[in-house]
Symmetry: C2
Subunit: 506 residues, 2 copies
């Protein structure tokens, strides 16, 4: 692409930004409502200036706390995902939450405006990471790594308009798995799809579908439809909205805002309605227009190979070659994919509606080269699991079920039946901790036995080790099973072993 | 404290800030050097404008990436710490990386200037969290929680001048354990110290010492030495430096910059040199000046109780009551503590030198009330493990030892001895993954057997599953032990079981 063309494309992109911004301002009622609420709150407090805080007690917009219950669910989901990543031999890395601002510049196309910048407090200009892919590419280039399979689970930040009820936040986790290195075509790409399949199956979120496409097929399609080179990326951004809006709206955006001819738009419209499997790949390889384009032919040949590997992995039935899939980010260069959960339904309709994307990724062979002083490329392919939607679904599922979620692992409560035994409880619990037993006690000098038992009921602690004057004299501890209420005296020297045996923990 | 006094104190604090800032500017040679390096780099690149990046390839100042080896060490340390927190019955929570700016305002005293602010991009004013304690207090107040024992492991941010070689960063992990609730005195406080003891022992970092003091004893000491009320916190900040600088320097700061009388300074000087155990507590309870002060008496009585509990826990010998311990943060109200590693040495000197703080914490009974609209207090006590120093030490230890750290858990490499067996390798590895085996293969169509074996040597994979024409015909797989080089044919249907048996993994 010539320099002038790039400049024009950039100008257009800026213009599109302006339009979008204007629209957002018009629709910014949410913001206004928030401000009004803030002002009302302030007003209400002005009369009662008693030195108490006069600010809103909240987390920043688009963020949330995780309480112990949510964390228990989150850790279950993470553990499923991490064990899959490790099963595929991935190492793990971590990078800082912020990067030099220039590291992120020019990587995200129209989404760049959603990047959080840090205030200039002297020193370097910094931005919060927008995803884990660009920091990964920076890490590879900086350390001259040409070959790695790694996962990275961390929070990323986007100044988006959050829809938190649907699991969309401004601070959210990404779970990324990427394979970097020069390899034979489509083998790592197929493994990424296998990973998506394994994770979504293991999480038991219901039926799902993984849409795949290829940037080269998209670009070939744009070319044969007569889209000018410098409009490929911006038209791609519009097509990317097809999972949320109808073709008619996308069409009017690319014709109206982006100035495409109606012929080109309709040509694109014909292609993007296509989806299928290997049969569609074969069909398009014969397509009179598309088969004339070198990029499209390369993309289709690789797509064919990909489907062969997916069949060997036994997962091809969940994969749909879908020409409407575009992915928003600029850096993809080859295969792209996105997993969607299918709506649970009993009525049989032909086209099941989707409840949104839970994983996505693709190949980005040029990104590392953008960071290398000599432009040395490291081909990469990866997948990102969109964990927040999955948390939301799991939370709903847990709440719907009767399953009681324990938020601690405590095996035993150290209790006393009489007063003045605090010292003895402290001695016993210290013995248990030192032997690796997970133990708690109430932080009271003289707690009532009933309160101690109630605490076990509330928190799910299965055993109580009760000491009283008599037990101390006899060198035993009364071990009570909270569920059955059975009590039995255990010699103190056997207590650790007995607790371990009963709670089946190592 | 009257409103005027508070205002004066604030003005003084601001003045102290100005002085410090001026000093920092003078000493800001590091920054200048960085800028010069940047300019030189830019200059060097101006001649070769080939479209390649012209920016520095680095992480932001004071931050670092964690590669797979560092992550392996980090996860070992975390697992030790988390298992200790869980042994004590803690739940886990998480909060956003940034808070409303006003949430952090007025909580950190002189350290507030180290807070990272986000740029105002419209909407709320935000700051990166400075620690995990203030977000915890905000969480409690916001959710009206009056009783919880939780841990939180996350990164915090301070615009400090980093000394990364000594494990000091601008982005660093804190591992916090806190107990919130109204309980009988010193029981949760003693448990926090027990936790510090357990973690530092388990990590085997060498000998350590936990210094304890109490803000009430400090304030009592300030009062009886004639320090004006409104100077308590700023003098406290100066005394806090005693772990890094000599008393003479602190003395000249509190007399010179902070305007204390020489008599008051010398009186403080007499006290802060004291350290000991229960005996010192008893002695100070009889001290003619200190025993006249109500706050000091309360602090000393609780300190006595604390030592009694620490003796029951069997850890009193590692705890030192030290009147020079002050802790920088404003929010502490009672007992405070800080753990230091003692220098390993063979020569016997009386006073072992310390290599720096690895854990710290204390009681903060007023912080939650600062967030509650009605000022309702929730007493809290907690400890924070300063993990970066520990990582640095572990890294050095690992490098010094010959131990080879594996960065993956892969059990088996799926390999082939002949060409054209990619499809067969894909089928076999898919079977293994589906059975929960951690397996890898090279992403080559026709890799050489030698390269496949070398990969196992390099990454520590213990087994190779080799397929060739003959094995496929016979329905077997050749299983090779990488260490012994022994090979044995295993029937394909028994392969999973055999791998599990040999790698002793569930």
């Amino acid at each position: 692409m010539a320099a002038e063309a790039a400049e024009l494309a950039e100008a257009l992109r800026l213009q599109a930004d302006t339009v979008r911004r204007l629209k957002q301002e018009r629709a910014g009622t949410e913001e206004v409502a928030e401000q009004v609420a803030k002002l009302l709150e302030l007003k209400a407090r002005l009369g009662v200036d008693d030195g108490r805080p006069r600010f809103l007690l909240k987390t920043p917009k688009g963020t949330r706390d995780y309480g112990p219950k949510q964390m228990a669910i989150r850790e279950r989901v993470f553990s499923t995902i991490i064990s899959c990543f490790k099963r595929h031999g991935a190492e793990v890395i971590d990078t800082p939450v912020f990067e030099l601002k220039e590291t992120l510049t020019g990587k995200y196309g129209e989404d760049s405006k959603l990047i959080y910048d840090l205030k200039d407090q002297g020193g370097e200009l910094l931005s919060l990471r927008y995803d884990l892919t660009v920091p990964f590419a920076r890490y590879l280039a900086m350390n001259k790594i040409t070959n790695i399979k790694r996962y990275h689970i961390a929070k990323v930040y986007r100044r988006d308009n959050p829809a938190m009820t649907r699991g969309r936040y401004r601070e959210f986790y990404q779970c990324d798995f990427d394979i970097a290195g020069q390899f034979d075509p489509m083998i790592p790409d197929a493994e990424c799809l296998k990973i998506v399949y394994e994770i979504l199956s293991a999480l038991q979120l219901g039926d799902f579908l993984v849409k795949v496409n290829d940037r080269r097929i998209l670009d070939g399609m744009f070319a044969v439809c007569g889209v000018p080179d410098n409009k490929f990326r911006t038209i791609c951004s519009s097509v990317d909205k097809l999972d949320k809006v109808m073709w008619e709206d996308v069409r009017s955006e690319i014709v109206g805002e982006k100035g495409l001819s109606t012929e080109a738009a309709d040509c694109i419209g014909e292609y993007v309605r296509l989806h299928g499997g290997l049969d569609l790949v074969e069909e398009l390889l014969q397509d009179p227009k598309l088969s004339q384009n070198k990029l499209a032919r390369e993309g289709l040949a690789d797509m064919k190979l990909l489907f062969e590997y997916l069949m060997l992995f036994g997962i091809a039935d969940k994969i749909s070659f879908d020409l409407s899939l575009a992915r928003g980010l600029d850096y993809y260069t080859g295969v792209i994919y996105e997993a969607v959960l299918l709506q649970q339904q009993n009525d049989h309709v032909e086209e099941p509606a989707t409840v949104g994307s839970v994983a996505g990724g693709g190949r980005y062979d040029g990104l590392v080269g953008m960071f290398d002083p000599k432009g040395k490329k490291v081909p990469c392919v990866g997948v990102s699991i969109g964990i927040e939607r999955i948390f939301s679904l799991m939370e709903q599922k847990m709440e719907a079920s009767e399953e009681k979620i324990r938020t601690t692992d405590t095996q035993v409560l150290v209790a006393s039946a009489q007063k003045k035994l605090l010292e003895e409880r402290l001695k016993l619990i210290s013995e248990l901790w030192d032997s690796g037993i997970k133990a708690e006690m109430l932080y009271k000098k003289n707690p009532k036995l009933l309160n101690q038992l109630q605490y076990c009921e509330d928190t799910g602690i299965p055993l109580v080790a009760i000491i009283g004057e008599q037990e101390l004299k006899d060198g035993v501890v009364k071990l009570r099973d909270v569920a059955t209420r059975e009590e039995v005296d255990i010699r103190r020297e056997n207590l650790v072993e007995e607790i371990k045996k009963r709670t089946c923990q190592p």
